[in-house]
């Protein structure tokens, strides 16, 4: 029984992870008001995609709501690319 629970936890984690970049890309696209294909994993949100501090906050708030996590305010300056954002969310989800 213990082994089954461990596998199920892994499966849940995997499901979240597979979906995560699609979901985050969609959220970012909506908030930055740009097409999803412009959001490559390393495109810089501020320099290339026109994000300001208010949009950064909205992105974090949307992710908190979506994944039921709490992202510390210090991460506001770390939301700099799609890949960075995905890494932040994964880190916090895995901690919980």
């Amino acid at each position: 029984m213990g082994a089954w629970r461990y596998e199920r936890g892994d499966l849940m984690s995997a499901m979240i992870t597979d979906n995560i970049d699609k979901v985050i890309r969609a959220i970012v696209a909506e908030i930055l008001e740009i097409e999803e294909d412009k959001i490559t994993p390393d495109a810089n949100f501020v320099g290339e995609l026109g994000m300001d501090s208010m949009m950064a906050l909205e992105i974090l708030a949307s992710l908190e709501k979506k994944y039921k996590i709490k992202i510390p305010e210090e991460y506001l300056t770390k939301v700099t690319s799609l890949q960075d954002t995905i890494n932040i969310v994964k880190k916090i989800v895995e901690k919980d």
């Binding site: 208010m54 906050l57 708030a61 908190e64 305010e73 506001l76």
Partner: protein, 247 residues
């Protein structure tokens, strides 16, 4: 207990004496739950908490130094942890070190700017993300007529209090789209520890059309009004409560 601020949670800095103390009581009596900070007297804080308990109000006191950003963060976290939300921030903690400029040390300048202006920056910054996420919130900054028209022998205080007005207006414009209101109250001469040792009080009174100093409660009433939904279309304003001193 009134309903003006029912179910709201307020954070007040410098709540054990003077105007801050009156603000704490007024907010409680209007139905708010209040967390207030203080720097020195545990005993005074305890007495206030007991009095609030007698009034069937809810409050907590926390020793904190607004000059330190980490303390400001700690205070906001404590408010969220104890009361689950933060609706109102009243920046009130302030000091004076009055001297003619020629006698004013750099330390006299720095201490007043640090507590009175940087303290307000620290508390506002520590609170703002919480309010922006909630898409609501109210900040009331206690300025002074010294910040509006200047007072002699208070270059440090007048500068800090004028700075608070700039902070208020700037922040009001910045966070208005998030449903957050930021206003300032500018008291004139009020009966508190800060004015009790003023020399030549009569000279000051001659300048006040009402012919008297104000009471802390008369400032607190205005703070509660600005914090409430009765003021929901008011932001970026400076309301003088000065008996006509600086018309």
């Amino acid at each position: 207990m009134g309903n003006l601020l029912k179910d709201k949670v307020a954070l007040v800095t410098g709540g054990t004496r003077g105007i801050g103390r009156a603000i704490v009581f007024d907010l409680v009596q209007n139905g708010a739950k209040v967390l207030f900070t203080y720097l020195q007297s545990d005993e005074s804080a305890g007495i206030i908490l007991d009095e609030i308990k007698e009034l069937k109000g809810e409050a907590e006191a926390i020793k904190a130094d607004v000059r330190l950003y980490d303390d400001a963060k700690r205070v906001v976290e404590e408010t969220l942890s104890k009361f689950g939300r933060l609706d109102i921030l009243v920046n009130n903690a302030g000091i004076v070190k009055d001297k003619a400029l020629m006698l004013m040390d750099p330390a006299d300048w720095a201490e007043v700017i640090n507590t009175n202006l940087t303290g307000y920056f620290n508390m506002s910054k520590a609170s703002i993300v919480t309010m922006m996420k909630a898409k609501q919130g109210v900040i009331v900054n206690i300025s002074s007529v010294a910040g509006v028209v200047g007072t002699a022998r208070q270059v440090n205080y007048s500068s800090a209090k004028a700075g608070i007005i700039g902070l208020t207006k700037s922040l009001a414009k910045e966070v208005g789209p998030y449903g957050i209101r930021v206003n300032a109250v500018a008291p004139g001469y009020i009966e508190t520890d800060m004015t009790k040792d003023l020399k030549q009080k009569d000279d000051f009174i001659k300048k006040i059309p009402f012919g008297r100093f104000g009471k802390p409660e008369e400032v607190a009433n205005v703070v509660s009004f600005l914090a409430s939904d009765d003021a929901k279309y008011i932001t970026g304003q400076v309301v003088k409560v000065d008996g006509g001193l600086a018309i």
